[in-house]
Symmetry: C2
Subunit: 251 residues, 2 copies
């Protein structure tokens, strides 16, 4: 079972879009996937078509130990399920809790190997919720835009990951870097992509997710890109990314 | 003196780009402007051309009461100065501090009326640093992209603002909404912009900041849009926004 945190404290780089559409693509290639929405904005939950007002429980209830995690899993499509979020999750950042980096890991005790992949959508910060993801996951996929400020966010991100590796979770390591919102017509995108590749070398996936309006439209209907626009660049790119992710297993 | 928090917990919507370029535009129209970088990513500081490694002090030192705020002001251009940030600021979110929402307000005690505008760049969260901005500012400009997930972030944002208004800072109110990264060729942008206008009515500025590659390139050289590409849409749009902001003063 691969547990992967999809993260970057820089905002708006495509984290949520990647968890949903990579999740669906992996399930289309025969993998059983569980997504976890660890952002109080609950955008992964909304993009999956779930109406927040109808939710009885969310990840918050599991993190505070009120409800077992198995009881809050929502089926999204064949082979793909979700642990939803709710705005109440922002309370976790403020509550004074002991050993609060391990709440997520604790709540998964006894979960077993029900799936092949767990993908965690992180909020745009290095706060307590992202720390929970880093203390539970074994791998990190960094999602980044090919723009300058997103590039500048990478060194502090790697520093934070190193600190977690040395103290809280020795297993965690960056195993993949995904370039999103890529516009190959712009010089700045081509240049920054090259800089990211020089920095991360073979960890950077060959597939870049191209900028594609269908990926901005699909959340409006709570649909993934394969249900919304199956022939779009977005669908092609996420399917090609999923094939690369699976190929890593053999290595 | 107008103290305006530029905020949205949704990431990557154009907050930092707006603080810098609106700040420069206001100073070109004769106003004295102070920008405050309240994000530990320090992107406003980087975009202003400051090298983080050369900084002796940052906002962090003032918030913990080590250095008076006046000693950390950096001149950026004529009529425009900055209180820089540094990655160490992320410690504020974790430190156990009493009355921690008022650290910024406290550090400005006795600051006087040295300028006409204070613009505060907030991080993409509703955590302690954003709360500090809301407890010091009198106005809020919400910056948003014209995309679905950014629209979904607005109700929780307004809820958080109402809570601050009722308890910590009765003066605070949303006085402006800026649409950024606007692409009028896309149906989704036109539709979402209309929805935002229906929601906020006259609070939404007439000027939308159009998507413009110069605005993505200018931070690479640590320059504002007026120094990097003075004839670009970006420069025109931020100048037109600044005129609207000044016009509000008379109302
Ligand atoms: N490849 C793409 N092409 C076009 N639009 C995209 C693409 N990827 C994401 N988007 C859109 O860009 C915006 C930002 O993406 P998303 O919300 O997934 O980023 P995020 O990193 O999760 O943001 P946050 O930091 O707020 O959590 C969304 O409106 C999304 O629909
Ligand atoms: N109008 C625009 N046209 C093109 N690119 C833009 C525009 N405004 C901002 N950008 C670029 O989009 C990216 C996001 O903008 P910015 O960093 O200002 O957003 P933010 O809301 O401050 O992000 P964060 O939530 O991470 O603080 C940056 O790379 C910036 O250069
Ligand atoms: Mg997200
Ligand atoms: Mg910013």
């Amino acid at each position: 079972m691969r547990i992967i945190a999809i993260m970057n404290q820089k905002g708006g780089v495509g984290k949520t879009t990647t968890v949903l559409n990579l999740g669906v693509a992996l399930s289309k290639l025969g993998k059983r996937v569980l997504m976890i929405d660890l952002d109080h904005q609950a955008h992964l939950t909304i993009s999956s078509g779930i109406v927040l007002e109808n939710l009885r429980f969310s990840i918050y209830d599991a993190l505070i130990g009120k409800i077992p995690i198995k009881r809050i899993i929502e089926g999204v499509s064949l082979g793909l399920s979700l642990i939803p979020s709710h705005p109440i999750l922002s309370k976790i950042e403020i509550k004074r809790l002991k050993g609060s980096e391990f709440l997520l890991k604790e709540s998964f005790k006894g979960f077993g190997r029900l799936c092949n992949y767990i993908l965690i959508d992180c909020p745009p910060s290095l706060g307590r919720l992202t720390m929970n993801a880093l203390c539970f996951a074994r791998e990190i996929f960094i999602v980044t835009q090919t723009e300058y400020l997103a590039l500048k966010s990478l060194p502090p991100l790697l520093e934070a990951v190193d600190k977690v590796g040395m103290s809280l979770n020795p297993e965690i390591k960056v195993t993949g870097v995904v370039a999103c919102l890529y516009d190959q017509r712009r010089k700045i995108d081509r240049r920054i992509k090259e800089e990211i590749r020089n920095y991360f070398k073979e960890k950077m996936f060959e597939t870049a997710i191209r900028k594609n309006v269908s990926l901005a439209e699909s959340p409006t209907l709570g649909k993934d890109i394969f249900r919304y626009a199956p022939l779009s660049y977005g669908a092609q790119d996420y399917l090609s990314l999923a094939r690369e992710v699976i190929k890593m297993e053999k290595a």
